[in-house]
Subunit: 150 residues, 2 copies
């Protein structure tokens, strides 16, 4: 059966290592997606409420407070946030920068979806997942696309 197709394993398949790279990248993008969501949300809460409490974060994200706290720990380890016990969460400079990038990317993605004719609700919904997979190149293209059709 496999003899029929040959599959030299050293000639046919390695022709596309590209695909493996693509999948790998999509996987990697997934890591970090959660951190991005947290950072963006914390930034929002800080701005609108003056503080970002684990409980609020958990509620907004729809997870248990324990999960939120654990992830906030990761944020700290990654140097994106600071938090003293029982004192709320704050962002480092790096965290703020990331938040800003994530926020503008989110808007851009939503705007493109809307421009393409996606209903507002679905646009918001899907953007939440899509945004984490939009590369800088694509982002730039989105920007041009929107500007050009004003």
């Amino acid at each position: 059966m496999m003899a029929a197709m040959a599959i030299p394993a050293k000639a046919a398949l390695p022709a596309e290592p590209t695909q493996a790279q693509r999948f790998g990248k999509a996987r990697t993008a997934q890591s970090g997606a959660l951190l991005e969501d947290y950072v963006e949300l914390i930034s929002d809460l800080l701005e609108s409420n003056g503080e970002a409490r684990p409980t609020d974060i958990a509620r907004r994200l729809g997870v248990s407070h324990a999960t939120a706290i654990k992830t906030i720990g990761r944020l700290k380890r990654e140097g994106l946030a600071i938090a003293k016990p029982y004192r709320g969460v704050f962002l480092t400079e790096g965290g703020e920068l990331l938040a800003a990038r994530v926020r503008s990317r989110h808007r851009l993605v939503v705007d493109v979806l809307l421009a393409v004719g996606v209903p507002a609700e679905a646009a918001e919904q899907d953007a939440e997942g899509i945004e984490h997979h939009v590369s800088d190149v694509t982002l730039a293209a989105f920007g041009s696309f929107l500007r050009q059709r004003e």
Copy 2:
């Protein structure tokens, strides 16, 4: 401190359970994404090679063969694939259906990205991650968008 903002916890925040739902949905969409990739790839391999071997799958996905085999086990548990030891992997009817849907969705996403002006390479790359977060509603909008601008 919290008295300052009040946050009655029963009046202000619950106003947007929507966001939690959005995040939750994006998370859920992520589960299943991997299965979709596997199913699509298996379908491709079956069509082009007449068989889908764990080793090839692993190579194409850029993971170890052990990981591929473990995931194939999940595919079987979910009723998407069938495989007898040392005999290659095949799709169930459900698996084929899923593969077809995934494949057409992938094409549509790539086409929209291209239509919006994203370079081919980036379009392929990003589509790999984006496609798993595109709802049916958005998919339909994509279809209309493409048809309308022919």
